[in-house]
């Protein structure tokens, strides 16, 4: 006979209203999980159709206009409705209060509002896509988007505008929470790196997203009122739109990668049984990435007509921003050195992240060189670069965190060998998909083209083959994680032997997070010959 199940946040209250009107950060995290999984699926379907189309040089799956709408949909959904919210709203929401020893975020009702804004924005954008979509690319460059593009631009842009407020409010909530709700003894330098990374991400969310909001409003004004703000035929400068758009959208890519870096900083010490090497460097590099990331947006505009002086400045600053990222990679590797390495699934994803992020980062430096960029801009070289960072980096980090914290969130353990298999499959599938794209770009294949010269076909076929393997690697967790909820063994409070405060409470945690607010007495990642020493007094 089973012992009566203890009360936790999952079973504390029942009914749909208790979920849709919850202010519990853990339940809101699960609501977000549902949302981003749904949007990842939609974006993934678009990616599948793109890769199917590109197997042959000729158009196969419809008109060029249809293809334009396809990659636009892929970009919009993946950037704004999957990548940007992914880790902060799910793992950030769930773990930040636990990691700092708080009972919830500073503003729980604002947190729920953020979720509703996200869903509303997402539904509006999906409506636009179902009605026929947009063909401008996710970057909405002017004057094409305002004066010449057909399609449901206003609806799609409005959806993103609404979702932007979700981002802003979430970032605001995290910043204030980390400042004011830390448990006794939890000084800034005792915070886990995931908290620092989420804090840095939140700085970007709060300072960059409003600029996007204004840019989109001006775009809508131009489209709706037919007034020329950025349109040359009415005297405007299309480059001004690009300046304003990229002032947000470049920091946005740091919104996408910083949380993943935070996850890796949690996973690597745990599965190396050693403290994080260079903690102070890692945390200040997170802040540095966020800050310097605001200074490099012009590197998206090198060939657009920007002044040479500005191009030089942005090129130099783009080299600078790589330095803190590289420092972090060195620190993760140094953490592993002479450690007690365990090859569980989260660690395999972390390995994948470090390797693939390094390749993505190095190719970013190549693109920061003005002369090289002139040659490969708007080719598949750029596409491969950002997918190495976004997918090889950010998504791998997401899966690392998902597998690391799954026992804490669900209270169950997943089958280890299936998880490791999926991680390895995803790694191989990813490389087969995107490495050929570096070659394609170098050889000159432009991005966003439906048909291409036949000499590029072999690389496209390899890429599409890789995509099919990657798809399986991503689909597998759906199955074994679902299985774990129904049939998986129950997890203890600390199945991995990690040191953070989140591992001192039960799996799943009770609604109030801790029976008693802990007192913190030591920094994170303290291991004694591979044995964890938890941060709080009773550990």
């Amino acid at each position: 006979m089973h012992a009566p199940r203890s009360q936790n946040y999952l079973n504390a209250t029942v009914g749909i209203r208790s979920w849709l009107l919850t202010t519990d950060h853990k339940r809101i995290a699960l609501l977000y999980f549902a949302g981003i999984t749904f949007f990842f699926l939609i974006g993934g379907i678009a990616a599948t159709l793109i890769r199917l189309e590109l197997i042959t040089p000729q158009p196969d799956l419809g008109s060029p206009d249809f293809y334009n709408r396809l990659f636009t949909m892929h970009g919009i959904i993946m950037v704004w409705f999957f990548l940007i919210p992914s880790i902060p709203t799910t793992m950030g929401n769930f773990m930040i209060p636990l990691m700092i020893g708080a009972r919830d975020l500073a503003f729980p009702r604002l947190n729920l509002l953020s979720w509703y804004l996200y869903i509303a924005g997402g539904l509006i954008t999906i409506a636009a896509l179902l009605l026929g979509g947009v063909d401008t690319g996710w970057t909405f460059y002017e004057p094409y988007s305002t004066f010449y593009a057909t399609g449901y631009l206003i609806l799609a842009v409005f959806g993103i505008f609404v979702a932007g407020f979700s981002s802003i409010l979430t970032g605001l909530n995290f910043i204030v929470t980390v400042h004011k709700l830390r448990a006794p003894g939890m000084t800034w330098y005792r915070l886990p790196v995931f908290v620092w990374s989420t804090y840095a991400t939140s700085l970007i969310l709060v300072l960059a997203t409003p600029v996007l909001a204004m840019t989109l409003l001006m775009l809508l004004a131009e489209r709706v009122l037919h007034v020329g703000i950025f349109s040359p035929q009415l005297g405007g400068d299309p480059l001004l739109f690009q300046h304003m758009f990229w002032f947000y959208s470049h920091p946005a890519v740091y919104i996408m990668i910083l949380p993943s870096m935070g996850v890796i900083s949690e996973v690597v010490p745990c599965f190396s049984g050693k403290p994080l090497f260079g903690y102070y460097f890692v945390v200040w590099c997170s802040i540095a990435i966020a800050a310097i990331g605001f200074l490099v947006w012009g590197h998206h505009m090198f060939v657009a007509g920007m002044s040479l002086y500005a191009s030089l400045a942005f090129s130099f600053l783009s080299y600078l921003v790589a330095v803190p990222s590289a420092i972090k990679v060195f620190n993760w590797v140094a953490t592993m050195h002479e450690g007690w390495i365990r090859f569980d699934a989260p660690m395999l994803y972390a390995f994948g992240f470090i390797g693939l992020f390094t390749i993505g980062g190095l190719t970013g430096l190549m693109l920061a060189a003005l002369a090289v960029d002139v040659h490969v801009t708007d080719t598949y070289f750029v596409v491969a670069h950002f997918h190495y960072i976004m997918v090889g980096g950010a998504v791998m980090g997401f899966f690392a965190g998902l597998h690391y914290w799954w026992p804490k969130i669900s209270g169950r353990l997943y089958p280890d060998y299936w998880a490791r298999f999926a991680a390895i499959l995803a790694f191989f599938g990813f490389n087969l998909t995107f490495f050929p794209q570096f070659i394609l770009g170098y050889l000159g294949m432009p991005r966003r083209y439906q048909s291409y010269p036949p000499e590029f076909q072999i690389w496209n076929v390899l890429s599409s083959a890789g995509a099919s393997i990657l798809a399986v690697g991503y689909a597998l967790p759906l199955f074994y994680l679902a299985w774990s909820i129904l049939k998986g063994p129950r997890a203890s409070a600390d199945p991995w032997g990690a040191t953070g405060l989140e591992w001192t409470t039960s799996s799943p945690p009770p609604t109030e997070n801790f029976p008693k607010i802990p007192t913190v007495i030591r920094p994170p990642y303290q291991y004694d010959q591979g044995v964890p020493c938890v941060q709080s007094k009773d550990g």
């Binding site: 708080a102 009972r103 919830d104 975020l105 500073a106 503003f107 729980p108 802003i168 605001l172 909530n173 910043i175 204030v176 400042h179 004011k180 709700l181 709060v206 300072l207 960059a208 997203t209 409003p210 600029v211 909001a213 204004m214 840019t215 409003l217 001006m218 004004a221 009122l225 037919h226 007034v227 020329g228 703000i229 009415l234 005297g235 405007g236 400068d237 001004l240 300046h243 304003m244 002032f247 109030e512 607010i517």
Partner: protein, 210 residues
Amino acid sequence: MAEETLGFQYSTLQQERETVTLGMWAFLATEVLFFGALIAAYFSYRIWFGAEFIAAAKMTKVALGTANTAVLLTSSACMAMAVTTHEAGSRRAPVLWLTATALLGLSFVVIKGTEWFLEYQEHLVPALNFDLARHGGVAEIFFIFYFCATGLHALHLLIGICLVCWLAFAIGTGRLKPGSTTRLIGLYWHFVDIVWIFLFPLIYLAGRNG
């Protein structure tokens, strides 16, 4: 007055007070960047178009603009008085000061509306009746900025007026729970004033000589 209740996520009232204050300042920082983006675009065009852009500003109504600035600055002073008297424990004084604030805010909106009406009559409204042949494309872009900026500002002001009216009602009827609400709404109101403090010289004072 009822006792101030503590949110479950806080351990002291002081912590709650400091937290909500930080939250409001973080929100205001986002608004700085929101309006700031528009101002950055303004500066970019002011540099790029040069004299033509600055000359277009002469067509704004500087007397009404100056009067409006005085109205808004006074409303901020009234708001500050409302916050001070409410924190001192009074109930009647803050209601009076808040009413003054709201009335001044409404006056601002009325004067602004008058300006817009006059600009409509002078064929200066892009997308409606802007006289391109007479004023030129650069002036049109200036006026797009003008209407976007003053329109968004007016929207924020209207929201502020609603908040102030609600606050006056809540304090007057004794319904307001003790806490930081008055101070926080005050911060918002002052911020809307600051936006106008910067918009005023950029819109009204350019190209006034020469």
